[in-house]
Symmetry: C2
Subunit: 289 residues, 2 copies
Amino acid sequence: MNTSHRIESTLEAALAISTAAGCPAKLAAALQHAVFPGGARVRPRLCLAVAVACGDEHPEIADAAAASIELLHCASLVHDDLPCFDNADLRRGRPSVHKAFGSPLAVLAGDALIISAFQVFAPHFAATPTQTASLLSIMCAAVGGPRGVIAGQAWECEEQIPLNDYHRAKTGSLFAAATLAGAQAAGQAPEPWRLLGERLGEAYQIADDICDIVSDARELGKPCHQDSDLGRPNAADALGLQGAVSRLKQLLGEAVESVPLCPGRTELQAHIATSARPYLPKELARLAA
Amino acid sequence: MNTSHRIESTLEAALAISTAAGCPAKLAAALQHAVFPGGARVRPRLCLAVAVACGDEHPEIADAAAASIELLHCASLVHDDLPCFDNADLRRGRPSVHKAFGSPLAVLAGDALIISAFQVFAPHFAATPTQTASLLSIMCAAVGGPRGVIAGQAWECEEQIPLNDYHRAKTGSLFAAATLAGAQAAGQAPEPWRLLGERLGEAYQIADDICDIVSDARELGKPCHQDSDLGRPNAADALGLQGAVSRLKQLLGEAVESVPLCPGRTELQAHIATSARPYLPKELARLAA
């Protein structure tokens, strides 16, 4: 089964549970809208790529971890797009959830996606309790706690935003969860995989900052110039466009180097190099290569 | 250790993790505000009362379950009070979270409380994986899925609201989780305890509907006449005040009768009868007794 199919079918199964008979129709529709069709599924792909590089001993647990990460990511997008945050009407080239269904259902859909991200592990507790428990802790740390995605969003409400803490929490934490969880799902110690996730998260954030400046909304599928409009730090502003592309290139190099020894190390390194390309518009991707 | 102390200290420990060093200051303050000082802590008290009646074999797991339920309840209150839902400025006699910290932090605080509700189980997976896994499933079903608290809130966005499904999801599901989890934490089969939770949840909802009609905001500590203002079904409207009090009395009787055989059955039955009193203003509580 290929990676896309693994990811989409696990997400479909998760949503089938959340939206089963008895679910209010609009909530069910909002959940579907929030998750399908997806974007590049960068984080669950990374999770599965690491699991496969480590031998993919328990593919069904790797699938659950990948789906959990994507559900948490989708939840953060739905809430981040709300009028009280970014007020973004466009997501993945379509109306954002609150635009299509209203703010109440967008708040509830985000909440339900978070619950679903934990529920995907339920079938695996009995057979692999220790591993599943560790995955659960990885997810909690990546989203909650003092340094997860939620804290990252919350930095936007402070007067002083510490750029590194902000980006590491808002973007890096879920990329780190992807590499940690991929290794853990394959039965490997997760910690050695943190650096890879963090470097890729930082690279992705810089690419996102570059796109926010150079793209138009149609190409991006979401509003652009958000950072300057909302007064938020932007790496491409801080480093200049050429500086940001250089930094991105350096981070991808460090990411590739950081891959721990594992059966599929070479293949994973190649995957990282190619999968990072769609982070950027084509002409910039050539520059960064 | 008494029940209050067990609940408050477990909640404090959970928040200490979420708001540890590195957490943005306003998010940390919003989380504290959302959880402390608490209301009557009805649901975690019920959870611990059931655990104690069943022998309280693993008190630390019962504490985690009780805290998880209260954190999920607090999360639902924070999101439910938002301007896009009830737009309630008052909660527990103080400004609601969005009133004190703004809507962005209220959305994020609710999200973080949901994560924290799962994180409380992390220390218990290793020693009691099966039990903890079952508790996790109980929480997911109570909040997410097709019939949990989130679905209950989502019914308010539909044109037709099926009253029973609405109340069972919005209120009953978390009361049922309290009794199921209390039994499970004590090592007993949870399902026989569902009816008790459902009856108490329905009783609590009716009491809440009565209070919404007969109280003033100062006595209630939150806005009153919300149901009629927001066009939502209210049992005391539907049944009349006397009819609603009778129904409440009947439900509490059924709840007491439904308590499964267990070492502390008599004490638990007495607890249910007395703990239901604060549901209502004093003069009505006498009527319902």
